[in-house]
Symmetry: C2
Subunit: 688 residues, 2 copies
């Protein structure tokens, strides 16, 4: 490891500050990592041997510690703490986040100021006799929120809503915190007033008596039980049977129902979607963070693990990291992680700017069109990035796991649970496939609008210069001239312009064949997905290159290689598109492949310093293979021994003895009678 660290051509600390934001953020992160490590409630070394029941109890125990910090530090510091907790214990993070993220988030998005104040006073702010959950999805309905079946019928006489689960498939399903934690739920249900349906709205419904957690009348709750991962969270199902709540428990920031049953709907439906974005942006960042952790393990292990000696090494085996194929497995993933981290920071800024503008928006505002245009772009960009970044991260974890060989299958090396915990990110907060289709639909719409002369938002600005891009070929005169950000950015723009155009033409052909818009969009869904994929990868490279171009000195030199590797590797991975539209020739593509090899080699030299710059403590990494000191075998062996203390055989007498002694019609073993065990007798006769 020291040998690897001595190779650093840049100031590791400088890169850490860049990734974290600045020195102050790094110091804060380090303080929080240390606090968590020393907090006995946050013990993580033994998590792999906990049962589901134990994991759930541990999660509740951690609440104490988190609530203490919530009440004693700034919101920004607490957000940073949550970001680190999400890497340390994703199951607990989800469970804790259900109240403060989802439930309170639903209040913030849907409640009037007075309603928000009411629920905060009644315990939602400090979790006093209160714990909220978020009851949106149903057994039969996930992505289709407008199709939810649960009903909320206004009873004018009583001035109440009646919340009801009319069918089995209307059962609220997957509700985090419902099984054991929550006193209240924000329930999404069909508003029905005077027999008329007004669509899905949000209602606060009390579930349990906070004194004893007995279920309230009409509430039926069960435990969803065992999941692929995140055992610390108690997902549940909920059925409502004619549950009555006061009218004021409907959150009425947007749609309002008066005492006499008048329903007043908002003019700007779109504005209600702004808040959905936050989750998506957070998942781009989380994909980068989780990839950091996975690569810290895989790359440090690869710098220590040796396998196979070659003819000139005098019996010393070669480090995995020195094998070109191992560099090929891990270095592009390392580059991709940086691309996600740079892009995540950018998205966060974009999101915050968006929210400031949205909060200030009023009906009749002059710049409302521009706000809505910006919202659409952020909405679509974040949809595509959420999907491809979570897919990339899941795949990174699995590739890191496999790159550790057999040891990747051990629970104690950490990558297995990381996979199982992360997998849900591809489905929740918008199923990835559906999000890619949304993004693809936006690209087709943008293309068609651009064709009519509309100036698009910057992220899709390339669709305003189609004439220039379509049919363009790489202008590089020599192979080396390809290794230029300008060329690569243009390459992505040309290919994206072509695939978006192809998708849009396919869509228009469907319309011309007489399909309606919905059917036409479905029909060209594969092309939408493909367009969204290339657009998202192009966007990631663009943001990464932009960030790197601002750097200076040695760090800039190293990061330029990393960024170039990312750009060329993604082109190689999508070679079909670049050759299809003939931006690159086959010979140029050959050169790109060879350059990916060369860049893997050069990034490999800086791999340990780059991973060190992620600055995750051994506690956060929580894997003996990813230990900073590189003493992997001793830590691994000790962890396996500590986790599995030796004792009496657990079931010899009861299960094994009756089995292997079941035909005891011979005497005790007599192997010693014939010491050479069948060898001498036929030593001659068995030659081959």
């Amino acid at each position: 490891m020291n040998e690897e660290r001595a190779k650093a051509k840049f100031n590791v600390r400088e890169l850490t500050y860049l990734l974290d934001g600045d020195e102050k953020q790094t110091l804060l992160k380090e303080r929080i990592m240390e606090e968590l490590e020393r907090d006995p409630l946050f013990k993580m070394k033994d998590v792999h041997d906990l049962t589901k029941a134990q994991a759930r109890e541990r999660a509740i125990e951690k609440y104490r510690s988190m609530l203490h910090h919530l009440q004693n530090e700034s919101v920004d510091n607490f957000k940073k703490r949550m970001e680190i907790v999400s890497m340390v214990d994703p199951g607990f993070w989800t469970r804790f986040g259900v109240h403060y993220g989802l439930f309170v988030g639903a209040l913030q998005s849907n409640a009037t100021a007075g309603q928000l104040g009411y629920w905060f006073e009644h315990g939602a702010l400090g979790m006093n006799k209160f714990n909220g959950c978020f009851a949106m999805t149903e057994l039969g309905h996930g992505s289709n929120v407008p199709g939810l079946e649960t009903t909320a019928t206004f009873d004018e006489a009583a001035d109440q809503f009646i919340i009801h689960t009319p069918t089995l498939t209307a059962t609220k399903w997957w509700i985090g915190g419902a099984a054991h934690s929550a006193t209240h739920a924000s329930v999404f249900a069909q508003l029905i007033v005077k027999g008329k349906r007004y669509g899905t709205k949000c209602f606060v419904v009390p579930l349990r008596d906070p004194k004893n957690y007995n279920l309230l009348p009409g509430i039926n709750i069960g435990d969803i039980g065992k999941k692929m991962g995140r055992d610390g969270i108690d997902n549940g199902w909920i059925q409502f049977t004619h549950v009555r709540i006061p009218r004021g428990y409907m959150l009425q920031k947007h749609t309002k129902v008066s005492r006499t049953g008048e329903v007043k709907e908002p003019k700007l439906q779109q504005l209600t979607y702004g808040a959905l974005l936050q989750g998506r942006v957070a998942m781009v960042v989380d994909s980068g963070n989780t990839s950091k952790k996975a690569l810290t393990i895989a790359i440090r292990y690869a710098a220590v693990r040796r396998q196979f000696a070659n003819s000139r090494s005098g019996g010393v085996e070669t480090k995995l990291l020195d094998y070109p194929i191992h560099q090929r497995r891990l270095m592009p993933l390392l580059a991709q992680t940086f691309a996600m981290l740079f892009t995540g920071s950018e998205m966060n800024l974009m999101y915050n700017n968006m929210m400031v503008r949205l909060d200030g928006a009023r009906e009749g505002d002059k710049d409302l069109d521009e706000v809505i245009e910006a919202l659409k772009e952020t909405h679509s960009t974040s949809a595509g990035l959420k999907a491809f970044c979570t897919w990339n991260c899941l795949s990174t974890i699995e590739q890191c796991r496999q790159s550790c060989g057999g040891h990747g299958y051990s629970a104690y090396t950490g990558l297995a649970a990381m996979y199982q915990d992360f997998a849900v990110q591809c489905t929740w907060e918008g199923d990835n496939t559906i999000l890619t289709l949304q993004a693809g639909r936006y690209l087709i719409t943008s293309y068609r609008e651009a064709a009519k002369g509309k100036k698009l938002a910057p992220g899709v600005g390339y669709l305003n210069k189609l004439n220039e891009l379509i049919g363009k070929r790489c202008p590089a005169k020599s192979p080396e001239a390809i290794l230029d950000y300008g060329v690569l950015l243009e390459a992505w723009q040309v290919v994206c312009a072509n695939v978006v155009k192809a998708a849009a033409l396919e869509f228009e052909q469907c319309l011309a064949r007489g399909m309606d818009q919905d059917d036409a969009y479905e029909e060209c869904s594969q092309s939408r997905l493909y367009a969204a994929k290339l657009h998202s990868y192009g966007y990631l490279f663009n943001r990464f290159a932009d960030g790197v171009s601002k750097l200076e000195g040695n760090l800039a030199l190293v990061m330029r290689d990393v960024c170039l590797l990312y750009g060329l590797y993604t082109i190689e991975e999508n070679a079909g598109a670049f050759l299809q539209y003939e931006y690159f020739s086959p010979a140029q593509m050959d050169f790109i492949r060879s350059q990916v090899n060369a860049l893997c080699k050069s990034v490999r030299e800086q791999a340990i310093p780059l991973v060190d710059a992620f600055n995750l403590s051994d506690y956060v990494v929580n894997s003996p293979l990813g230990r900073k000191d590189g003493n992997v075998y001793v830590h691994y062996f000790n962890q396996v021994k500590e986790s599995n203390p030796q004792g009496e055989h657990p079931y010899f007498d009861r299960l094994i003895k009756p089995l292997i002694h079941r035909n005891a019609n011979t005497d005790e073993e007599d192997a010693d009678d014939d010491e050479q065990a069948g060898l001498e007798s036929d030593d001659e006769g068995d030659e081959e």
Copy 2:
């Protein structure tokens, strides 16, 4: 479901017989599935909530049932039983297979006939006071068997070997059955006689006293503990400290050590590798079988699950299976499953022929060269196929899981555990990446031999006609003419010839730059992997097309679409290569993409009948989403309820109450005082 079944254009039963071999095999499978389902020891419905300890005890309980059948049915029937058990309970299958597959397999490969007889008599045949394990891998050594560190030193005075673990990294690691089950191990260790090392050989070492399972002197064993999956198997680690065994416990079929320490080595080292192949071939078949199970779940669920209504459906939501994008997600995987099943059958035949020839081989045989050539081809082909089929299967499981949306994350729907259990197949019995490099090395060697005029084995025969293939373009005059097996087979041959040639030239350039062979092979490893990938996919299509071409009638019509989908989809997935070598033009590639869409639509029409033809019983599928009757929600809800019976709150008093009542400085909740919950007071002031 009935509606879907009515669409069948072929005799479902006929396809089942084809996949199983014949009607007799199908009936046998059905009998075994029923026996397992009725066997209380093989209860599987509750497995997702078992702890590791419970899963391990369950596994031992199942031994009783399996041993009964082993002693009372033919070997062929028992093999079929094991194949089904591998789908029902992979953890148990592995544990049981350790003795009869790995330990007995090691005896069969390495013991003389006399030694084999000796160990069979001493309990290895009937598992009488005997249970074997297979101690090859070490903490620091996986794929590199010649690099194992454990030593076996001959003590001539005592006529014994001393088995010893000299370092921490020499600890035997991952040894299935070592933690609790095994009495004996087949230990791979460095043979040292009179100070000279002879490489890795196999020794039988007693571990425990069968009477009480106490560890024998010098044996130290621990539990490896929690893994990603296959909890039913008790993997352990073993350290030997100067453990003495009789000389005859070294298995001496190949290398022999005499009483006086004379070492006689075999002339034909290669022949010892034949037995390794069986595991690889089994994993191609297993990849097909496991994909069957995953797709049965995902496709049946997609035929029932509805989501989103369109403008013309009058509120009825659309079946997932009717969405083009969902067809795109699942139909190519279905086609790939058939490709693996057809190829697996072929490989089995090839393996059996190989073994017959190998068993008959003698030094000096005239056809020995041919036998060795055939061995090399099978060895290389099976290496590549093992790698790509297990990767494909793992990816299929994950894609099936994600295609079930949120429900794929529930343990009870079965796909999560299937992933966790299957993942190990990418690493064990040869790490996939290393196997692809072996396959790639063989392709380079074959290319160079062909260049010297050698006639190659049929699987790589295309390298004998390079002049004809290199530079060839698709001769189809119309787009439709591409949809022809002949064209597609040639397309694969042309592309494979090109990538193998490119890899071989890269290798030769490395030699020309002065590298030795080993370094040159490492340097072009990415090209080796790429060549192996395309060769393997081409091989799969070739075998599938060959199998389908023998069919007749309606079944042939349906399977031709499935096979064409597979061929075109894999070309689309590897479009970069087909465009790089210009076999297809960009316009032809566009046509291929559109045909994949069209074939997904047409195969979707037969999807339920095709899945029904897999003929897996509800018991084997063990997922409410994959139920044959399609009543998925009721079965799912019931399973969740049964698996998580409601009772007292498990930790309210102890953990939740102190938490949410911690700041009890206010009175009891008083929400009822203000029924409209903050609404009325600011109803006016909060307009937007």
